[in-house]
């Protein structure tokens, strides 16, 4: 069944690989962007508590719309996988829609649809999430559906077989059959050494071999270990009465047993291990491309806001540095884009990526030199105040827009809790971003985007068959 998208891997799948659309030859005179000072998002009030079984609950009561979101994050993602078991986290996300003791296969979707709600789930490197947004009088339905699968998921051989095939098909369609994406995902993982840091040094989607080898006992063990209340956080946002919500949460989740804490995630990985270069042939590519990954610190690190703005100014949007200089002026690239943590934020090491697809006749290494020149310009001369103000406005607007919906707020609260270590950071984090200076952006460009900290991948199409 494919009538709606049920799963997605975060981030990278949204890569808009710029097609060969004609671009305006010159940029019109730029008007200065307004200064990035102004109102902040409204404070998101929070209440946090824990059930005796270890389930963390965070409530954000907000009656501005008659809507609730029930959003569960499990502290499990690709980083918890072991060698030979890659792809389990994502495979598991599929299993979570296959039914449980009191919910038949397919019934989850139907119950939510008949209530007028919407739902989905997704897997990232550090976490897996499941959410439903419902009219507020159906809060109980959302909570019950999440509780039922947390307590009694149907991990049967038939369901497993079924979803192994679904995941393999997803892999074929979305990665193996698409140019560049497979190479990009491999490169993101290759920035880290799987011997010392398997957690971040392997692919999110997993290998076909590992997926084929998955046994129902392995999957049951994985469920038992990670899909336990003490490894999950439940965020409730929107239009509910806290006393009633707490009563339902206790009734539905209270007697689910806790388990021993999962083993800690190990990662021993230095910055600046020395410049690494490699060439790969991408069977689906028709144009040369480059993908560079630089190692950056975990998401809560003080340098993250400046790195975010560096990514924006360098390579996000038509008027970004790389697009102006390399695509529009030098006409050397079809499109370029930067990514900060393309497979999700992390509590371990992160990645800063630049993908560039060359125009016909432009060799990948000369494209690489052009990118290096633009990075060097920022490292040497910094960015302008107007560029920074524009990046801050965009960030401020996106933060406010996110907070407009109950789902947006729920995800932001989870993000603050897991990646910043404090739910309250959902209200305070923006100040760190607005405090970034042009000098900060220049400093992080110098500190992280240096050759000895990067993995440079030159992607070439397969050689044309000789006539």
């Amino acid at each position: 069944m494919t009538r709606r998208s049920r799963t997605r891997l975060a981030g990278l799948l949204a890569v808009p690989l710029v097609a060969g659309a004609p671009l305006p030859a010159t940029l019109a005179a730029q008007q200065p962007a307004p200064a990035a000072e102004g109102p902040l998002p409204a404070k998101i009030p929070l209440e946090r508590y824990q059930l005796p079984n270890g389930l963390t609950v965070i409530l954000n009561e907000d009656h501005s719309a008659q809507v609730v979101t029930v959003d569960v994050w499990y502290d499990v993602g690709a980083r918890n996988e072991r060698p030979g078991r890659s792809g389990f986290a994502h495979l598991f996300e599929h299993m979570m829609f296959q039914g449980s003791s009191n919910v038949k296969k397919g019934e989850h979707f139907q119950l939510v649809e008949r209530a007028g709600g919407s739902m989905n789930g997704s897997t990232q490197i550090d976490r897996t999430n499941y959410f439903q947004t419902l009219p507020s009088n159906r809060l109980n339905l959302g909570l019950w559906l999440e509780a039922d699968r947390m307590r009694s998921l149907a991990v049967t051989p038939e369901n497993l077989k079924n979803q192994q095939e679904a995941v393999k098909e997803e892999r074929r369609l979305r990665f193996d059959n698409q140019p560049y994406i497979g190479t990009v995902l491999l490169s993101l993982a290759a920035a880290y050494d799987p011997k010392t840091c398997f957690a971040y040094g392997h692919e999110l989607i997993g290998s076909m071999d590992d997926l084929n080898a998955a046994k129902v006992e392995d999957v049951q063990a994985f469920f038992k270990q990670y899909y336990a209340p003490n490894n999950a956080t439940l965020v409730l946002t929107g239009d509910f009465q806290p006393a009633e919500a707490k009563r339902l949460i206790t009734q539905y989740f209270g007697d689910i047993a806790r388990v021993d804490a999962p083993p800690p995630v190990q990662c021993d990985q230095p910055f600046n291990p020395g410049e690494q270069r490699r060439r790969v042939t991408d069977a689906k590519a028709t144009l040369p491309a480059t993908f560079t990954v630089w190692r950056i610190p975990e998401t809560k690190h003080a340098d993250t806001p400046a790195l975010q703005f560096l990514a924006t100014i360098l390579g996000q949007g038509e008027s970004s540095r790389l697009n102006k200089a390399i695509a529009r002026e030098a006409k050397a690239a079809l499109g370029l884009q930067t990514f900060l943590n393309a497979v999700g934020p992390t509590r371990g090491p992160g990645t800063f990526g630049v993908l560039a697809i060359a125009n016909q006749g432009v060799p990948a290494d000369s494209l690489d030199r052009l990118i290096a020149r633009e990075i060097a310009r920022i490292a040497e001369s910094g960015v302008t105040e107007a560029e920074l103000a524009k990046a801050k406005n965009a960030y401020r607007a996106s933060t406010i827009n996110t907070a407009q919906t109950s789902l947006g707020r729920a995800e932001a609260i989870h993000h603050a809790t897991m990646f910043l270590g404090d739910p309250e950071a959902v209200n305070t984090d923006i100040r760190r971003y607005l405090a970034v200076t042009a000098a900060d952006v220049q400093r992080v460009a110098k500190a992280y985007l240096r050759p000895e900290n990067g993995l440079f991948t030159l992607i070439t199409p397969p050689e044309a068959p000789k006539p």
Partner: protein
């Protein structure tokens, strides 16, 4: 994009971590083994509106919401399709697109830069009745929003460059529509339903080409006026601010729009009518069944919405369940209600395999009748109402959504409490009221039925259901005899064939994007056509080898290609009046496998030979040839009609030539060929779907 984050704050969390459950479970609070029942629906709590008319006559509705510092706006003016001059259909949509492409002191790039730099958005669109400018800004940028809106409606520049660009994009989109059966069906349905009423008119390449800068300026001058318009603002702004900003940025904008043009009422229908849109070679049929309904404020509208939900409002509805899940005839089948300001319509759509076209239509009509003939069972009714009542709050969660909803209510003249009472009125629908409404809103006995498909295969079956009128995808009348066009025994003057090589430049929307080389060589059994094409630096590639006999009749085809990284290919052999083989060909759903086993009428050519065959036909003003043409991508031979539509002077890199403009019809997309009027008649230019051009280089 993932939400980035900042450093952790020093110290412990600001929140107390309460390590106990908030309240002990009551003794009777067992874990339920059935989905818990819905709690009562609370009355809607939409924020109150403030409404006033500005000094220049513009009506403003303000929905204050100060939770987040964001302001959403929607400026709606009566300047939609209803007001388009005849022959200029498409002008409202073009004007809407151009208002933000240069206005006041800003160029198009500067408008985009200003709004994006301020963390906002602004865009224009037009529908049946209205032209709307929609967007949002951070609250401290509200003045900028008013400035951009004021410039857009009162001082648009309509730069030639932007007009040309949008016209090209519009023409491309129209051509794309012409290749998509669902779009063809929608267009023919609207025309049949509304007749000459403007709701039924649609832009064509001719009307879009006819729109000039003067037309756009006149349309803006006469239609975009504040009186009769509506500005809905939702979010973090006060009425005082709105008044002050309007005084500053909208004050010079005054006046009434021109009086509404007169137009006739849509036609009424006493019995069902089937319109068959003949699309030769179609492997599926697109069915649309529907009828006119009522105005947007009709008292039965809530019952009609529930009836529509039961019938076809999603995957949890009768049409989907029966036509897809039970019968397996289709990927999806749905129904909907359209509610413009004037008379709206109901329709049901399904895309089915050709061989089940009649069964699916009969079932569809039966389901439409059933809605009026039988009361809806209680569970089904409750599920449908539950979904409609339930989804409502999800559609008014953000300031932007609230602005859109309020604009809908106001522009349709719906009562002031419409949104507040929306859910209770839906909840109040009963099986008897639904049935009464269904008889009036869903009328299969007076329905317009549009079927887009292969007329040769489905005409007889449809004729057994009702009277059938046949049209081309462009809407021109056809006779039953026209369904089997006699591909004339093509009179190819093969004595003029000679080995040669032609190089073409490929341009996409005017930009050079690649090259194509056609080569004709002699071999022992006849001719070998070789073609090599590369577009967009290899995003699209194709290499073809076609072997033919001495009269260009195909013997063997081998084709290899790539479309955006996906392999395409065709291997076909031709013998004994049949083509056999296999092809992988691009389609909107990805690469599609086509098994080829088709009968070929005598005289069939392979489409890859067209470049060499066309010049061998006899051309003169008005000349017309029907050629049976095999296309590996479709796996069948279809008759293509080539007709001289005029003589033009054509300039290509190889020189300037006087050429016949020969238009091909009957295929998926229209193609124009330009063959020189003088001997040796050479093919100098090909234009595919108005957007891809091949021009002879040497």
């Amino acid at each position: 994009m993932t939400r980035p984050s900042s450093l952790r704050r020093a110290g412990a969390t600001a929140l107390a971590l309460t390590a106990v459950a908030a309240s002990a479970p009551a003794a009777d609070a067992q874990y339920p083994t059935k989905p818990p029942a819905a709690a009562a629906v609370q009355p809607a709590q939409l924020p109150p509106f403030q409404e006033e008319v500005l000094p220049n006559g513009l009506r403003v509705v303000l929905v204050e919401n100060h939770r987040d510092p964001i302001v959403a706006f929607r400026l709606v003016l009566p300047a939609g399709r209803l007001y388009e001059p005849k022959g200029k259909e498409g002008i409202s949509e073009m004007a809407a697109g151009l208002l933000t492409k240069g206005a006041g002191s800003r160029t198009a790039d500067q408008v985009a830069e200003a709004i994006e730099g301020a963390g906002g958005s602004l865009s224009g669109a037009a529908d049946d009745d209205f032209l709307a400018l929609t967007g949002s800004v951070l609250a401290d940028q509200t003045a900028l929003a008013f400035q951009l809106l004021g410039d857009a409606v009162a001082r648009p520049a309509f730069p030639d460059k932007e007009i040309d660009l949008l016209r090209t994009q519009t023409l491309s989109a129209l051509q794309l529509e012409q290749s998509q059966p669902a779009s063809i069906a929608a267009r023919v349905f609207a025309a049949g339903l509304y007749g000459d009423h403007p709701y039924g008119r649609r832009p064509t390449p001719e009307t879009v080409r006819a729109i000039t800068k003067a037309d756009l300026t006149a349309f803006q001058q006469t239609r975009l006026r504040p009186r009769g318009g509506l500005l809905v603002i939702a979010g973090d702004v006060t009425l005082e601010q709105v008044r002050a900003l309007a005084a500053q940025h909208l004050a010079g904008w005054t006046g009434y729009p021109a009086a509404n043009p007169a137009f006739g009422a849509p036609p009424t229908r006493a019995r069902p009518e089937i319109v068959l849109v003949h699309r030769p070679g179609s492997v599926q049929s697109n069915i649309v069944v529907g009828n006119l309904t009522a105005g947007p404020g009709d008292p039965q509208v809530f019952a009609a919405m529930v009836a529509n939900k039961v019938l076809g409002g999603g995957s949890d509805a009768r049409l989907f369940d029966i036509l897809r899940e039970k019968k397996g005839w289709t990927y999806g089948a749905y129904s909907s209600l359209a509610r413009p300001r004037g008379t709206g319509y109901f329709n049901a759509t399904a895309e089915v395999r050709t061989e089940v076209t009649d069964s699916a239509l009969v079932e569809l009509l039966a389901q439409l009748r059933r809605l009026g003939n039988e009361p809806v069972p209680a569970t089904e009714l409750e599920n449908a109402k539950g979904a409609l009542v339930g989804i409502f709050p999800l559609t008014v969660e953000t300031a932007q959504q609230v602005a859109e909803r309020v604009a809908f209510v106001k522009t349709r003249g719906l009562p002031g409490d419409y949104l507040q009472t929306y859910r209770t009125r839906l909840s109040g629908v009963t099986a008897p009221t639904l049935q009464v409404a269904a008889r009036r809103w869903v009328r299969p006995q007076q329905a317009l039925v549009v079927v887009v498909g292969d007329g040769q295969k489905i005409h007889q079956k449809l004729a057994a259901i009702g009277s059938v009128r046949i049209v081309t995808p462009q809407g021109d009348a056809m006779s039953v005899a026209d369904l089997t066009p006699r591909a004339s025994a093509v009179a190819l003057d093969v004595s003029r064939l000679a080995a040669r090589r032609d190089s073409f430049v490929v341009r996409v929307q005017g930009n050079p994007m690649g090259a194509s080389v056609y080569e004709l060589a002699k071999d022992a059994d006849g001719w070998v056509v070789r073609e090599a094409t590369t577009i967009a630096g290899g995003m699209i590639q194709q290499n073809t080898t076609l072997r033919t006999d001495a009269s260009l009749a195909p013997r063997a085809l081998e084709q290899r290609g790539k479309v955006q990284g996906r392999d395409t290919k065709a291997d076909v052999t031709f013998a004994g009046g049949r083509a056999k083989g296999a092809a992988q060909t691009p389609s909107p759903q990805g690469i599609k496998d086509v098994a080829v086993d088709a009968e070929l009428p005598a005289g069939t050519l392979d489409d890859n030979a067209a470049a060499f065959a066309l010049p061998l036909l006899r051309w003169a003003p008005g000349a017309k040839h029907v050629v049976s043409t095999f296309s590996a991508g479709k796996g069948v031979a279809v008759p293509l009609t080539y007709e001289v539509k005029g003589t033009e002077s054509v300039t290509v890199p190889a020189g300037t030539f006087e050429a016949f403009r020969i238009e091909q019809s009957g295929g998926d997309q229209p193609i124009a060929y330009f063959v020189t009027t003088a001997a040796p008649h050479r093919l100098v230019r090909i234009v595919v779907a108005n957007q891809i051009e091949m021009a002879l280089a040497k």
